[in-house]
Every structure is written in structure tokens, then in C-alpha cells.
């Protein structure tokens, strides 16, 4: 599964707007993840996960920054996320099912903040993009 030219154009163009709210979007995505899917908190026993926590904000920023890298290198997401792919495979070992949950929460956050831009076509492009990112991050799992 790979992104068409049109899908890439949609993602790159929307990222312009998204990146202006990158940090709050990252934090909100994680808040949604932990509230809707409490089992995902098991990966963060070492974190203070209360709303507004500095750790939550820092981690949210990290996640969105990585997505930004993928967008900037949308023609070679595998290359852009190679190190993160190894990190997830050998160190973090987050169960693959959780990538769908995080992707969903990101889409909810983006839909809520950019309703006019989040057309059905944009929705499809983002869902596919997150699916590609998730595949790259789980590529080396076994």
C-alpha cells in the first residue's frame, strides 16, 4: 500500500496548518488515547499522565515531530523513520494493535481542529498515511 500523488499533496498541504499547533495536537492526541483506551497507559508507568503534565506535553511533541519528519520525507517514509522503526522493534516493543488506536486519536484531534479541511478525501489520505507510518514502525518486529 503506498500513497498516491494526490494523497501526498493533501497530507503535505494540511501539515502546514497542523504544524502550527503541533505541540497541543500531540498532547491532545495522547490524552484521547489514554482516556479512550486506558490499556495504552501500560506503556508509560514511568510517566505522570495527568492532563497538563510536562512529560505528556514533551512526549506529544516528540510524536508529532516524528510525523512531521515522515511528511517532509513523504516519498521515503521508510528511510525517514528507520531509526524509530528499530527503536519500536527492539526497545519499545509496543504491541502493533496500538498503532491503530493512536492513529485514530490523531485523526479525531485533527478532525475536531480542522473540520473544514477534513473532507472525506482528506480523511482517507490521513488514514492511509498513518497506516503506512504504522507499517514502517512495525516492519522489523519479527
Amino acid at each position: 500500500m503506498s500513497l498516491t500523488k494526490t494523497e501526498r499533496a493533501i497530507i503535505v498541504s494540511m501539515w502546514g496548518k497542523i504544524s502550527t499547533q503541533a505541540d497541543t495536537i500531540g498532547t491532545e492526541t495522547l490524552e484521547r488515547l489514554f482516556l479512550s483506551y486506558p490499556q495504552t497507559k501500560t506503556y508509560f508507568p514511568h510517566f505522570d499522565l495527568h492532563a497538563g503534565s510536562a512529560q505528556l506535553r514533551a512526549h506529544g511533541s516528540k510524536v508529532v515531530a516524528a510525523l512531521g519528519d515522515a511528511v517532509k520525507n513523504i516519498d521515503n517514509i521508510t528511510g525517514a523513520l528507520a531509526k524509530l522503526s528499530e527503536l519500536h522493534a527492539y526497545i519499545l516493543r509496543v504491541d502493533p494493535v496500538n498503532f491503530k488506536l493512536l492513529s485514530h486519536c490523531l485523526l479525531v484531534t485533527v478532525a475536531a481542529r480542522f473540520p473544514a479541511d477534513f473532507t472525506a478525501e482528506a480523511h482517507a489520505a490521513w488514514d492511509k498515511f498513518m497506516s503506512v507510518v504504522s507499517s514502517v514502525l512495525t516492519e522489523k518486529y519479527r
Binding site: L35, A111, A120, A124
Partner: protein
């Protein structure tokens, strides 16, 4: 069996009061067919599904979306017995429609996204969590009579 707290029931009931069943139903079903094109396999008789705009504007999609969301509205009045409420529909989806229950989960999540788009900031993480529980409960109830 899924159990809703009083707070969750209040959140869902209040949100539902502001949902436009006709518009949001058509939007949700349309997006399911656009974002996950393989789901079109169930709708051969629906006519033109050849592009995102064709799908979103298709009157049969809108009508069916409204039907689906109305049914969800009925369930919201019976949150303590989703399995009972959806018993007949579960049999129908298994025996006559032959729908893989995974599709209920997909549609549930698309609906959550449509609600987020509709309500914006108002669709807080807390509200989303209650909705996720609701759509998960409905999906499970619809799959309950499968054999």
C-alpha cells in the same frame, strides 16, 4: 457485558440530542465507503460509488446512513441492554446480510471522527471516551448472535 456509568449515559444522551441523524448518518456511511473502499462490497445496488464526491452525494448512501444512525439512536435509549436491543439486527447482519463484524468497528470509529468534526472543541477527550465505549458496545451487540 458493557456497563455505562451515569456520567457516561448523560454525556451520550446529551451529545445525541445535538446530532443531525440524517446528515451525520450519511456522512459516516459515506466516509466508511471512501476511506475503506472494500466496504463497498455490501452495496452493489447503490449505484455510483466511483469517486469520493459520487459516494458522499449518493442519495442511497445518505438514506442508508440515516437508517443506521436512527437505529443507534434507539440503542441510546437502552444502553443497559444493547445485546437485547440489537438481537434481531444481529441475526439479520449474520444470516441475510453476511457482514463481517469488523465492519461495525470500522463504522463506529468513522462515526466518532464525524462527531469530532461536527462538534470540534466540544468533543473533548472525556466525551470521546464515552462515545468509544458506546460504539464498541454496539459493535459487540451486533456481533452477538453470529454463528
Amino acid at each position: 457485558m458493557v456497563h455505562f456509568t451515569a456520567e457516561e449515559k448523560a454525556i451520550i444522551t446529551s451529545l445525541w440530542g445535538k446530532v443531525n441523524v440524517e446528515e451525520d448518518g450519511g456522512e459516516a456511511l459515506g466516509r466508511l465507503l471512501v476511506v475503506y473502499p472494500w466496504t463497498q462490497r455490501f452495496f452493489d445496488t447503490f449505484g455510483n460509488l466511483s469517486s469520493a464526491s459520487a459516494i458522499m452525494g449518493n442519495p442511497k448512501v445518505k438514506a442508508h446512513g440515516k437508517k443506521v444512525l436512527s437505529s443507534l439512536g434507539e440503542a441510546i435509549k437502552n444502553m443497559d441492554d444493547l445485546k437485547g436491543t440489537f438481537s434481531h439486527l444481529s441475526e439479520l447482519h449474520c444470516d441475510r446480510l453476511h457482514v463481517d463484524p469488523e465492519n461495525f468497528r470500522l463504522l463506529g470509529n468513522v462515526l466518532v471522527i464525524v462527531l469530532a468534526k461536527h462538534f470540534g472543541k466540544e468533543f473533548t477527550p472525556q466525551i470521546q471516551a464515552a462515545c468509544q465505549k458506546m460504539v464498541a458496545g454496539v459493535a459487540t451487540a451486533l456481533a452477538h448472535k453470529y454463528h
